[in-house]
């Protein structure tokens, strides 16, 4: 029951129960995961990244002015360049990867919470059962003691 594997070295009597120390050792830190993390899917920063990619893919500058028509022409030419297409493809891929990672993080968070809950349940059941058994063992030990 304790860190050293003993039952705490306590007698089962009421007097011993009033004394400080003895008995099963409690954990030193809170057994908790803390508040749930916000989901990454739909997170504002992720949404901004998606929007940025859409803007990149959108049509280039247009309009009636000479300067804007020239700029639009340059962009069209650049977009046909193999290296530029390669970078656009890479950017699209990265966006998809970030999206997948966000979903994976959310799934890991869900699984971690589930694991925590299951661990807590196992620990609680074990603690209940072991404490009951230890109490009975302490009682029997006291009853069989020579001066009992």
């Amino acid at each position: 029951m304790t860190a050293d594997g003993s039952d705490g070295g306590v007698a089962a009597s009421a007097d011993a129960l009033a004394a400080p120390g003895g008995g099963p050792t409690p954990l030193s830190r809170a057994f908790t995961l803390g508040p749930p993390l916000p989901e990454l899917a739909g997170h504002p920063e992720l949404a901004d990244a998606h929007k940025g990619w859409v803007d990149v893919e959108a049509a280039g500058p247009g309009g009636g002015g000479l300067e804007q028509r020239v700029a639009g022409l340059v962009v069209k030419i650049l977009r046909r360049h193999p290296e530029y297409r390669q970078q656009r493809e890479l950017l699209a891929q990265l966006t998809r990867v970030v999206d997948a990672l966000a979903k994976r993080c959310d799934e890991l968070e869900r699984r971690l919470r589930l694991l925590h809950d299951e661990t807590a349940e196992v620990a609680d059941v074990l603690s209940e059962d072991l404490t009951r058994l230890s109490a009975l063992a302490a009682l029997r030990r006291d009853a069989s003691a020579p001066d009992a």
Binding site: L17, A18, G23, P26, A135
Partner: protein
């Protein structure tokens, strides 16, 4: 106005239930007349102490003695209409009491070795008794009075974030100057309960603070600065466990019952009758765990809460009863 002297060698001890009892009874006596409290201590002019006048008559003159040999000059010149000695044998200051009054000298027994039954069990006296002294050797069971603030029921203690918990009181060991959270200072009963009921909230009150436990681990620590804080904790508990109840009246058990919270206590001493009315007792750890589990049953808990509250209120809820009973010992009209 009648004048009385109360002789008490432990007056004002902050961690002593005996001192609390003496002060309450002296307060009841003060409803009938002026009360001077005579106590060992460095001689000094009389000091006001609430409703009383505190007179220190010198430090004990011999090793092991509770009272000094008091010079006449250290005593007030007037004679009292009666003297109440707190404690009784073996440190009974009969000679001193005789010099203070020609009237009645009564002894307030506060349990333990001073019990009029002579029982040496330090937790054997479930009620206060007053020996009527020389004129009236009969024992008078004067009962006692315990007050709680019922508004403690209106809101739980801020910060703890739970109700319907198991409340474990940490005993009456002197607390450190600074409140602290130290699991090593938990009574063994608290550690057993934390381990046995990991799925319930267990609150332990030790060293001026309350720790919230769940899953066998600490989830927060908050200071308990006032009696009202403790009453709030009791009022919202499922059960109060007091492994070391007060030896004279088990004050915290009475207070818990007044809030309708059953108590689980060791099966000896002053708390025994309280538990019989509204709780359960244990003599070993297995019984402690079983009884706390049993008292948590809603039907049984409701029955114990009702009977315990009625018992505590009837027996300890009337200051008038204590005032009249003390007055009757000294032959004063109600």
């Amino acid at each position: 106005m009648p004048r009385f002297a109360v002789l008490d060698e432990c007056w004002g001890h902050p961690d002593s239930e005996r001192a609390f009892v003496a002060r309450t009874v002296a307060g009841a006596l003060a409803c009938h007349g002026a009360v001077d409290v005579v106590t060992p201590g460095p001689p000094s002019p009389p000091q006001p102490d609430g409703a009383f006048r505190l007179i220190s008559v010198g430090n004990p003159s011999a090793a092991g003695a509770s009272w000094p040999v008091v010079a006449d000059g250290a005593l007030p010149p007037e004679r009292y209409d009666g003297v109440l000695v707190v404690g009784g044998a073996p440190a009974y200051p009969a000679e001193l009491a005789g010099r203070l009054t020609t009237g009645l000298v009564a002894t307030l027994y506060v349990g333990g070795a001073n019990s009029p039954t002579g029982d040496s069990d330090p937790m054997s006296s479930p009620v206060l008794r007053v020996d009527g002294g020389h004129r009236d050797p009969a024992h008078h069971d004067v009962g006692f009075f315990v007050s709680v603030n019922p508004t403690a029921r209106t809101a739980p203690l801020g910060g703890i974030g739970c109700t319907d918990y198991i409340l474990v009181l940490g005993g009456h060991a002197p607390a450190p100057a600074t409140p602290a959270h130290d699991p090593a200072r938990l009574p063994a009963a608290a550690r057993w309960l934390i381990a046995r009921f990991p799925r319930r909230f267990v609150l332990t009150v030790v060293d001026g603070g309350v720790t919230v436990w769940r899953d066998r681990s600490p989830h927060g620590w908050f200071g308990v600065g006032t009696r009202m804080d403790l009453w709030r904790l009791m009022a919202f508990a499922r059960v109060t466990v007091d492994p070391l109840p007060g030896p004279v009246v088990a004050r915290e058990c009475i207070e818990s019952l007044m809030f309708g919270t059953p108590v689980v206590v060791p099966g000896v001493g002053a708390a025994l009758s309280h538990a019989a009315a509204g709780g359960a007792t244990y003599r070993h750890v297995a019984a402690l765990l079983d009884e706390v589990d049993g008292v948590s049953d809603p039907v049984r808990r409701a029955a114990l809460a009702s009977s315990g509250q009625a018992y505590a209120t009837d027996r300890y809820g009337s200051p008038r009863h204590l005032v009249d009973a003390i007055g009757a010992v000294f032959g004063l009209p109600a």
